[in-house]
């Protein structure tokens, strides 16, 4: 608002009303809707760039009053498990001779959890890794695993940013999320 009034001036009490009649909006709402726009575009990017897929919407659909932070809780569980699995795979890759079956088991678990939260890019990298594993191609596994680790780190950062922004915006109306 271009108007400046000292807070002691009686007309400052009318400021919100003036904003409403002149701009058809409340200042606090404008700020909030800016954050909401930011959140919506962040989310759209996550989907457009293939980091997340349809399954993430399924998680959001399950969130309700009885578990208002369900999505964040599940994602936290995922990163707890996936960090452990990534460390296990790292260790297993150091060993000679290579136990490909064990590697495949770990990667199967990682892929499964990634798929359950809708982490599309991670899921795809896990699939590539398993293909190299089936062919017992150690070099291929090592290269593929670097990609898996990278996707894991990138997704973790992006989702952390997303949930932080989500907290600032507050509960988002289900009807407004894109894709429906």
């Amino acid at each position: 608002m271009a108007l400046h009034f000292s807070s002691a001036h009686p007309i400052s009490a009318l400021h919100p009303l003036l904003c409403f009649f002149l701009h058809d909006t409340y200042p606090e709402m404008e700020y909030a809707s800016g954050l909401q726009r930011q959140l919506a575009s962040m989310k759209k990017n996550l989907f457009d760039q293939g980091y997340l897929d349809e399954q993430f919407y399924q998680l959001e659909e399950l969130q309700d009053e009885s578990s208002p932070n369900f999505v964040e809780e599940v994602v936290t569980l995922f990163f707890r498990d996936s960090s452990r699995l990534v460390a296990n795979i790292d260790q297993a890759l150091q060993k000679y001779p290579q136990d490909f079956r064990r590697l495949d088991n770990f990667m199967h678990q990682l892929k499964g959890s990634a798929s359950s939260i809708g982490a599309a890019k991670m899921k795809n990298e896990c699939t590539s890794f398993r293909e190299f594993c089936n062919k017992e191609n150690r070099e291929g596994c090592l290269r593929s695993f670097q990609k898996v680790k990278k996707e894991h780190a990138v997704l973790k950062q992006k989702l952390e940013n997303y949930f932080q922004l989500l907290k600032q915006v507050g509960p988002v109306d289900k009807a407004t999320h894109s894709g429906n």
């Binding site: 399924q58 399950l62 309700d64 369900f70 569980l77 498990d81 199967h108």
Partner: protein, 184 residues
């Protein structure tokens, strides 16, 4: 049965052991100026208690909670399946292995359905299914198997062993809602 008249007040009346229920009827009279007693029909508190007790009894018998046992070694998948089931108002217990599932089944008599992951370390979902179907105590419980892999041989093997259904992961609410009619 003894009726004791009182001046414009209550008369107590009790029926002895009628189907081991006793109703205390309160009978009200008013004494008219002419001197005679006029009976009044007023609501009976004892009958309120009777109907309340009967409805609680009927409610208790009608609504037996459906208790589902979910078995999965992945904490993410456990959280997901539990949430989907609880959204349909089922009571859910989750365990992380076939071994723990069997332990729980010996203690908990009223499981309406078992939903299990296929690939688990130590005991696979198929082995759990077999154990359940081979047990005389547990074989009536419907077992549903979930897997992230669409392997027709695996699916057929499970169905032949007596699995109620086979779900592909990630599981959705629509998959679970079609199971509700098969719950015990």
């Amino acid at each position: 049965m003894e009726v004791v008249p009182r001046d414009s007040g209550l008369i107590w009346w009790g029926f002895p052991a009628l189907y081991s229920l006793r109703f205390l009827f309160l009978v009200y009279y008013i004494r008219r100026p002419s001197g005679d007693l006029l009976p009044l029909l007023l609501p009976q508190p004892s009958l309120f208690f009777f109907f309340f007790a009967m409805s609680s009894y009927a409610e208790g018998r009608g609504e037996q909670e459906i208790h589902v046992l979910a078995v999965d070694d992945s904490s993410v998948d456990r959280a997901l399946i539990a949430k989907i089931l609880r959204s349909s108002n089922y009571r859910v217990t989750t365990v992380d292995s076939g071994k723990r599932a069997l332990e729980l089944l010996t203690l908990e008599p009223n499981i309406s359905m078992i939903i299990t992951d296929y690939w688990m370390p130590e005991m696979t979902g198929y082995e759990l299914l077999k154990s359940v179907k081979e047990s005389s105590k547990l074989r009536e419980i419907p077992v549903v198997v979930m897997s992230s892999e669409n392997v027709p041989n695996r699916i057929n093997r499970c169905l032949e062993e007596g699995a109620e259904d086979f779900l592909l992961k990630p599981v959705r609410p629509s998959d679970v809602s079609r199971l509700c009619s098969r719950m015990r």
